[in-house]
Amino acid sequence: MSDHTPNPPRAHEPMDAAGLADVAAVEVRGVDKYFETASGTVHALEAIDLNIVPGEFVSLIGPSGCGKSTLMRLIADLDTPSAGELTVFGKTATQARLDQDYGIAFQQAGLLPWRTVAANVALPLEIHGMASAARQSRVTELLEMVGLSEFADRFPDQLSGGMQQRVAIARSLAEQPRLLLMDEPFGALDEMTREKMQTDLVRIAADTGAAVIFVTHSIPEAVFLSDRVVVMSPRPGRISQIVPMRLGDAAGREDRTDELREASAFFAMVTEVREALHGGAADLLGAESRISRGAETR
């Protein structure tokens, strides 16, 4: 599947395209990533092309080892590509990081245990020298957005996992980023909390108009949240298909309620993403059985 082409901005408009559409939120062209390990070179990403327009919600999905987290780390400038070009809002990834153009949330909440909820949310603002009064009002606003206003003075160990994750999301939104990077943020949550968080995230993304890159393992989650789902396959990590979400009447962010989860358009898209994934997964199974056969004959 090396013949995939860079996806142009999709046909149906993103939320916040006016005026910003000329500069892509993220542009990835021909990016490769190799890791040197003790057992040799690992080809983590191969010839990645991806364009994300401002305000767009894109999920990266694929089996373990397909490089979806690596791709996100490259965009966040936590790693550098081995080859190819990567720009964030027309700047280098490093410049975008220095300019605080993105907010980030990881699989674990990653809250500082010695700081209260409010102080955790204030952390990026504090580091960047926002005045105390402005900081406080921003924190109040953010905690309201994630529904944790009464928990401002609690410490992370006094919160449930879902609440911790919501604090982390509030923190990632602190500086009103136009791009939100999320690496399986709901991965550790139970299904009930997870669905609630997804609904919240759709709302927050609509409110802020930020573009979101969302790494996930879950097909329904990707379908529910995204404008486009980027399906990746492993060894080496590639984009095998980009599936635009055609959810009919519920395409708008504000229409993505729990009813969507039971709509037939939703199931149709789940099926489409699953089939796209299986193309890659079949390759993976083939490779693994070859490896195990090889081990047996030795």
Partner: protein, 326 residues
């Protein structure tokens, strides 16, 4: 299983934003304080019981043991039970209240011991402070540059194998040659220096481990904030180091006291508890209970030193939290 159910309950309460969400976790934290107090009381009771047990053993053995002690072959494995070797506890306590010498203006023994202990405490505190500064400086250096860790850490470990007794007179003689302007090296500074030499080691090791302790996720988070070295140090590395630093500081305090007492003895410094220990031990044949005065003083000294650091732990209690869900 139970904590998963609790999660949901707390989370649901948060979602509904009702009054229940405030009261449920609040009662939880009050309930958490109560066992803490009970633990404190329980701890003191056990401590008292331990002291009583030692007292009972002491007097019990003195009452029942043979006067010449227990001797197997050539080795006396238990001491003599004479008043000379093992004075009665009440004799020791009574002696504390009596004047230190027969001179008319002599202070009571406890006052002399307390003054000496305070002197030593001051010297040990100075040594501890130097040890903290040096220890944290080394740790910062080694945390910043791996090369420094490889180059320095083995020497820091080896430094602790140098016998203190051999080392103390050398420091004193070096110190006596130091004279910078109006500053003149005092003998007590040699003792403080030796105390710091013992104190810095656990602090270095603890601080290094603590500064290296932040999770990768936290370090990367700060990287995404484009946070500089100092901002990361102050907002992440030092707070994360507190749980490692507190026991290291306590160990450093205990080491500083031991170092100060031993250095007082081996440099012959007057005025501290170390000197008093030697001096009164020499008078033990005539006044056996008197020798125990400075021993009690040294014990209290150690407790005060370790207790002061424990107080620091109470002040910094928020930094000892973990991210785990309650």
């Amino acid at each position: 299983m139970t904590d998963i159910r609790d999660d949901k309950r707390v989370d649901a309460a948060a979602g509904s934003a009702g009054s229940a969400s405030v009261s449920a976790p609040a009662t939880g934290s009050i309930a958490a304080i109560r066992p803490a107090r009970r633990r404190l009381v329980g701890g003191s009771l056990w401590g008292l019981a331990g002291v009583l047990l030692i007292a009972v053993l002491w007097e019990g053995y003195k009452l029942l043991g043979p006067a010449d002690g227990v001797v197997i072959g050539e080795f006396r494995i238990l001491p003599r039970t004479t008043d000379l070797a093992m004075p009665h506890l009440w004799d020791m306590i009574v002696r504390l209240a009596e004047p230190v010498t027969r001179a008319d203006d002599a202070l009571p023994l406890w006052a002399v011991v307390a003054l000496a202990a305070l002197t030593t405490l001051g010297i040990a505190a100075a040594g501890w402070a130097v040890g903290v500064v040096v220890g944290i400086a080394f740790a910062l250096l080694m945390q910043r540059w791996r090369l420094a860790e490889f180059g320095l850490l083995p020497w820091i470990v080896i430094s602790q194998t140098v016998p203190l007794i051999a080392f103390a007179p050398v420091v004193k003689s070096w110190g006596s040659r130091v004279e910078i302007g109006s500053f003149e090296w005092q003998d007590w500074m040699s003792v403080a220096l030796i105390a710091s030499y013992l104190a810095f080691f656990p602090i270095t090791v603890g601080a290094l481990k603590g500064l290296q302790s932040p999770d990768r996720i936290h370090v990367e988070l700060f990287e995404t904030y484009a946070s500089g070295y100092w901002a990361t140090l102050i907002r992440l590395r030092f707070p994360a180091a507190v749980p490692y630093l507190l026991p290291a500081l306590r160990l450093g305090a205990a080491n500083a006291v031991i170092g100060a007492v031993v250095a007082e003895v081996s440099t012959g410094l007057q005025g501290g508890i170390g000197r008093l220990l030697i001096q009164f031990a020499g008078q033990a044949s005539g006044d056996p209970a008197k020798a125990w005065g400075p021993i009690f003083g040294a014990i209290v000294l150690g407790l005060v030193a370790a207790g002061s650091v424990a107080l620091l732990g109470v002040i910094l209690k928020d930094y000892r939290r973990t991210e785990e869900i309650a």
